[in-house]
């Protein structure tokens, strides 16, 4: 069932929340308040919200260092997410995991991963568990197009097909892997074709069209729940910012980025909502709501305490 106009408004706000989350992190990073690296997902909000909103809360998700949007769309508490970025004890991982390891099993988020493709087999494992226990939960794994050249990813393609796992693989193809154009390092640039070569049900969708992503994942999930096995969805998108903070972006032109902005998911969704009868005032209201939510999360995070040194020694084993 496609997103209703009302749900689409919510989804628009959700994308705005994600965008503003990343903007806030950038500014905190520039203030020197964030440790480590930060890999923004700005421009890729539609794959996150479209995909995660097509699933249930008790479905499973794994994602990457660029997965803030997916984690939030799946239901990760925003305050805990913001606090984690600032390394606070109230963070979703108590300051231990940071930007690249958002995790919250209570919303099905089994973990973001800092190893390219590292989380893909975990989603497959969750899918296997569901199948073994005759449950109908599905698992979704997000990864970039650069990940399709990593061994564990390719091994997992084979496993998912032979075991008919209720697994949805979403490749966010943003054209670049770090500072390199991916077509220079990937033999078959349409990654969905490679997956098809493993026997996957595989397709390409416009990843900046939230409804297209939503529909594709919803259908894949229905198929998976019915025992029809895995689906591979290559969502064509674009990251509007650099690979990480500090990326000089020598590998692309300003014009290319400017052009991509015309097609970016939030602007597009806004236009679509207007088509569906929303007013500019409606959109502003949604923007304001998102703004307030982020402001509250920031306030929470900034007023939280840093973890105690002794906390470093807990949470290794149960």
């Amino acid at each position: 069932m496609p997103l209703t106009p009302e749900r689409l408004q919510d989804a628009y706000r959700q994308m705005l929340i994600i965008r503003k989350f990343e903007e806030t992190i950038r500014s905190l990073y520039q203030q020197g308040k964030i440790r480590g690296s930060f890999h923004p997902c700005v421009g890729q909000e539609a794959t996150a919200v479209g995909g995660c909103w097509a699933l249930r809360k008790d479905d499973y998700l794994t994602c990457t260092y660029r997965g803030h949007g997916q984690a939030i769309a799946k239901g990760l508490n925003l305050q805990a997410a913001m606090a984690e970025m600032l390394g606070k004890e109230t963070g979703c991982s108590k300051g231990k995991g940071g930007s690249m390891h958002f995790t919250d099993p209570s919303v099905g988020l089994l973990g973001a991963n800092a190893i390219v493709a590292g989380g893909v087999p975990h989603a497959a494992g969750a899918a296997l568990a569901s199948q073994l226990q005759k449950k109908d939960n599905v698992a979704i794994a997000y990864f970039g197009e650069g990940a399709v050249n990593q061994g564990v990813f390719l091994e997992s393609l084979n496993l998912a097909v032979i075991w008919k796992l209720p697994l949805i693989l979403v490749c966010e193809n943003n054209l670049y892997s770090e500072m390199s154009p991916s077509h220079e390092t990937t033999s078959v640039v349409e990654t969905y074709k490679r997956a098809a070569g493993f026997g996957f049900e595989a397709m390409q969708v416009d990843g900046n069209d939230i409804e297209a992503v939503y529909n594709a994942v919803e259908q894949a999930a229905a198929r998976a729940r019915a025992g029809g096995g895995p689906t591979y969805i290559e969502a064509m998108t674009y990251r509007l910012w650099g690979h990480m903070m500090g990326d000089p972006e020598i590998y692309r032109t300003k014009e290319e980025v400017a052009k991509a902005k015309e097609n970016e998911p939030i602007v597009r969704c806004g236009k679509r909502l207007i088509e569906l009868g929303c007013t500019d005032a409606d959109l502003s209201r949604l923007d304001g709501e998102a703004e307030a939510i982020i402001a509250a999360a920031l306030q929470f995070a900034e007023s939280s305490s840093a973890p105690q040194p002794a906390d470093a020694f807990t949470d290794v084993f149960i």
Binding site: T103, N113, H122, E155, V316
Partner: protein, 323 residues
């Protein structure tokens, strides 16, 4: 009690745990109808079906990762690597993933997974099929490592490992599978983290585990004939280390030799020696020693392999040199 092999004892542990806990399932190469190259999973497929005794492609990295995912959502996978050497193709999933996900999540997920593998030399299997990896893995926080030397310990420790709720690397030895011993029937367990004194002695403490534990016992017999009574401690668990049992023994003997098949360099021998000096520096009456594989890959020819891996006679010599 029944007198069964190490492999049979492991098989019993798996069968019993699978019976009482439907969350337990197995993955590995040829573990189904073939019952595993070393017969550890023999006949289990008949009882539990191909879903729970799951043959895998030759994709160690992926199927260890699948184990992790299944464990995170509540199952209890027992994943078999055919040879410990193949842990290297799955190293990221073991070290970067299984060992760290709980910590990185602030304790919100856990990984109740056992990775079983046999290791070690002595059969001429060559450098890529004869390694011992416990000291590498002991460097990785987040892994529990066990390495039983007897059938009874093997069964009891495998049960504890499956129930541990944490990632456990369960180390078997290819030349222990056919060793027989008395094993309690039915349910019992051996606690993780508890060493056992396998032979009492007053003159020197020999610490070992896995196959070289048997060498140590053999050496102790020879030494007894020469008037040296060795106390032989079987670590059983490599991580966490049971230093209490070691220190208690060394307090009595004043001498310490650590023996393992893994390479000496940065090995468990060195670690135990360093800890004794940290925790009870005054107990030793002479410098401690360790004995491990020499620092070359494991060769095939018998004359070469015997020169590289510690032998019972080497233990005797090392001990005698301390008196």
């Amino acid at each position: 009690m029944s007198n069964i092999t190490y492999a049979q004892a492991l098989n019993e542990a798996l069968r019993e745990e699978m019976k009482v806990d439907s969350r337990v399932f197995l993955m590995g190469e040829d573990i189904g109808h073939h019952g595993g190259i070393f017969r550890v999973t023999k006949d289990l497929i008949d009882e539990f079906g191909a879903d729970r005794v799951r043959d895998t492609p030759i994709s160690e990295s992926s199927f260890v990762g699948v184990g992790i995912g299944a464990a995170m959502v509540g199952l209890r996978p027992v994943v078999e690597l055919l040879f410990m050497d193949f842990a290297l193709v799955a190293a990221d999933q073991i070290v970067n993933q299984a060992a760290k996900l709980r910590y990185m999540s602030g304790g919100t997920v856990s990984i109740p997974m056992v990775v079983r593998a046999q290791q070690g030399g002595g059969r001429g299997n060559g450098a890529q099929h004869s390694q011992s990896f416990e000291t590498w893995l002991a460097q990785i926080p987040g892994l529990i490592i066990v390495a039983p030397s007897t059938p009874a310990d093997a069964k009891g420790l495998l049960k504890s490992s499956i129930r541990a709720g944490n990632p456990v690397i369960f180390i078997e030895h290819k030349l222990l599978y056919n060793i027989k011993g008395d094993v309690p029937e039915g349910d019992y367990s051996i606690p993780i983290g508890k060493a056992e004194i396998k032979r009492d002695g007053r003159d020197i403490t020999i610490v070992s585990y896995s196959r070289t534990l048997l060498f140590a016992l053999e050496a102790a017999k020879t030494l007894a004939q020469k008037g040296i009574e060795a106390e032989v401690i079987d670590l059983r668990t490599i991580e966490p280390l049971d230093m209490n049992t070691i220190l208690e023994s060394v307090k009595g003997t004043g001498r310490l030799l650590v023996v393992h098949e893994a390479h000496s360099n940065c090995g468990l021998g060195a670690e135990i020696i360093a800890r004794v000096y940290e925790q009870a520096p005054d107990t030793l009456i002479m410098p401690p020693r360790r004995l491990g594989a020499k620092h070359v890959p494991i060769p095939v020819a018998e004359s070469l392999e015997d020169a590289v891996l510690p032998q019972p006679a080497d233990i005797v010599n090392a001990v005698e040199a301390m008196f």
